[in-house]
């Protein structure tokens, strides 16, 4: 039986300065991070000890390129938040990783909370900038000039699932799922076939099928194996091929369908493997087919359309949900998945409330229609860019949201709660609540550990090898009763 799908996402935001001739993305990102809730007591360290090694199951070798920052750097480039998330500098971008979530709606809330956290940091940071200087942030994946920055999903998998099976069965799914979760992009990059508009922001940047890299030679299936949990029991599948979504609906479907397909792979439920002849080329070809119906080549010589390929996964998932006791969100995901596939078949533009690439497409064509500008005009590229601006008064997606022109999955109140409160049903609860109550004593944090600086100067580290350890049901009473970190640790060790 498939294990519960604990999941979370990481978003790297595009960052630029305005009226800021000496703009440097790294120092501005540090300013952002350190402007968020800067009234709080000194932050805790990010504990890198568990991240020193990365094992590549393909190459069967350890990768030691990973640099571990010293304590001072760690403090300035990381912030662990009370909602259980991590907010940090990654290369030259601000990055936000949601806390571990146990259901799909929660991830939508926590990812959307990330946009608000970044926006609050931006407002706070601008207080200390010179008059008129601004920091602008974009939740997209390309600068239209050949540079891409990532959006990553993480799914907890059973370690016993053969990695080969994941590669075989998940690849055709993630290559074709862009038809509902692509964020849409004007033009082509990275020496790929030119096009006026395409479904995915990221497709142009993928060059190989399986590998460890994320910055060069990007692979469809990433082999990074850092479970942030018990290595014996779990694998964390790091999915790097997706676009960052503005649309809650597209985000929800991206995560929900992927989690269902992975559960089917774990249970060896998928009846047939559709092997694509050339998955990397197919990813780019599907991204350029706005009908989603042009057949793609399978390895056995036959062809199938992207929509039909998704229907195959859907049909299997429908049988799967009827056979296995799946999680409550399963049926809702199935319904929405069927709806978008059906509508895509009839008329993609009918999904201009649901899917980012269609919402943006309709916007761009309407704009071109009014002003007579061309696909390669600066105005159209600007619209493409500003669709992803996270400011709620300036971002074009948020203009549409405010008008009620996009489908929502969660409410503003739920997102606001996710800015400040951790999820109840994963170890993120213990992490977030310890930061709320015992912050001065929290010495360091990682996904799978918490270390406390006790009164006697002793550092006590507790391991959280299971993401379902430290939930509200398990620890709320102890956190409530404890008057110090030492007391909490004593109570937790008794249970």
């Amino acid at each position: 039986m498939a294990i519960p799908k604990i999941l979370g996402t990481e978003t790297e935001y595009g960052i630029i300065g305005r009226h800021d001739p000496d703009f440097d993305p790294i120092s501005r990102t540090l300013l952002l991070i350190n402007s968020y809730q800067c009234e709080m007591p000194p932050p805790s360290l990010w504990d890198y000890t568990q991240e020193a090694l990365r094992f590549d199951p393909q190459a069967m070798s350890f990768d030691d390129i990973y640099d571990t920052p010293d304590q001072l750097d760690s403090l300035s480039i990381n912030k662990v938040l009370e909602n259980g998330a991590r907010y940090y500098l990654d290369h030259a971008h601000p990055e936000y990783a949601t806390p571990e979530c146990a259901n799909i709606r929660d991830v939508v809330c926590y990812e959307k909370a990330g946009d608000r956290i970044l926006d609050r940091s931006r407002t706070a940071a601008e207080q200390v900038l010179m008059d008129g200087q601004q920091i602008l942030l974009y939740k997209n994946n390309s600068d239209h000039k050949g540079n891409s920055y990532g959006y990553h999903e993480n799914y907890l998998l059973d370690r016993s699932t053969p990695f080969r099976l994941i590669v075989e069965q998940f690849t055709p799914f993630i290559v074709s799922r862009q038809i509902f979760c692509g964020a849409g992009k004007v033009g082509a990059e990275n020496n790929t076939l030119s096009t006026a508009y395409q479904i995915s922001q990221r497709a142009d940047f993928f060059e190989t099928e399986v590998g460890l890299d994320t910055m060069v030679k990007r692979p469809l299936i990433n082999t990074r194996d850092e479970p942030h949990a018990s290595r014996e029991k779990y694998r964390r599948l790091h999915v790097i091929v997706g676009d960052a979504n503005m649309s809650e609906y597209a985000l929800y479907l991206k995560l929900g369908t992927s989690a269902l397909v992975l559960a089917m792979i774990e249970d060896e439920f998928l009846p047939r493997t559709f092997t694509l002849r050339d998955p990397v080329a197919t990813l780019k070809a599907i991204s350029r087919d706005l009908t989603c119906q042009k057949p793609v080549q399978l390895d056995d010589g036959s062809t199938i359309s992207p929509i039909a390929l998704q229907w195959e996964y859907w049909a299997a998932a429908e049988r799967y949900c009827a056979t296995f006791p799946v999680e409550p969100w399963g049926q809702d995901v199935l319904r929405k998945w069927a709806y978008v596939l059906y509508q895509l078949e009839q008329e993609p533009l009918s999904l201009a409330r649901e899917l980012d690439w269609v919402i943006k497409w309709q916007l761009l064509i309407s704009y071109m229609d009014r002003y007579g500008c061309a696909w390669d005009s600066a105005q159209i590229t600007l619209l493409d860019l500003q669709y992803h601006d996270i400011r709620r008064d300036k971002g074009l997606y948020y203009v549409l949201e405010r008008r009620g022109d996009v489908e929502r999955i969660v409410t503003d109140a739920e997102i606001d709660r996710a800015v400040d409160e951790p999820p109840d049903d994963t170890r993120a609860y213990l992490r977030g609540m310890c930061l709320k109550k015992f912050r001065p004593q929290v010495f360091s944090v990682n996904w799978d550990s918490l270390a406390f600086n006790l009164d006697e100067g002793e550092i006590r580290r507790i391991a959280l090898d299971d993401p379902l350890q430290g939930t509200k049901a398990q620890v709320a009473t102890a956190i409530e009763a404890a008057t110090s970190a030492a007391e909490l640790l004593a109570m937790l060790s008794e249970t």
């Binding site: 790297e12 595009g14 960052i15 630029i16 993305p25 990654d90 290369h91 030259a92 971008h93 990055e95 600068d143 239209h144 000039k145 540079n147 891409s148 920055y149 990553h152 030119s194 006026a196 508009y197 994320t214 910055m215 790097i240 087919d289 009908t291 119906q293 057949p295 359309s305 929509i307 039909a308 229907w311 195959e312 859907w314 049909a315 069927a338 596939l341 059906y342 078949e345 009839q346 993609p348 533009l349 497409w361 309709q362 064509i365 309407s366 704009y367 071109m368 229609d369 009014r370 696909w375 600066a378 590229t381 600007l382 619209l383 860019l385 500003q386 074009l396 203009v399 549409l400 022109d405």
Partner: protein
């Protein structure tokens, strides 16, 4: 379950309009959006409907189309208010370092 698996390879009307030529493809798409947006010329193609049911359907389509067109017009107006100035320079200056 609500909708059964489909394997239809037939292209939709819009699909048929889409051929590999980028320029043609996007000309066709623009026409599609104009249709969706209730372009008067497109709607009037169904001129002189033969019976009242058809006439009524055509007028419904026209009404819906007009509503959508008005909506899109209002959206574009709102976007014009928030859009960054000097598109050319703004887009040129949006350069990121690769990440991940």
């Amino acid at each position: 379950m609500m909708i059964h698996t489909r394997h239809s390879r037939t292209r939709t009307q819009s699909g048929e309009m889409l051929e590999p030529m980028v320029a043609d493809e996007h000309r066709a798409l623009t026409i599609m959006v104009r249709m969706a947006a209730g372009d008067q010329k497109q709607v009037r193609r169904s001129d002189a409907p033969q019976d009242t049911a058809e006439a009524k359907a055509a007028s419904n389509i026209k009404e819906r189309g007009e509503t959508l067109k008005e909506d899109l017009d209002r959206i574009i107006d709102e976007i014009d208010e928030v859009l960054e100035e000097n598109a050319e320079e703004f887009v040129k200056n949006y350069v990121q370092r690769g990440g991940e």
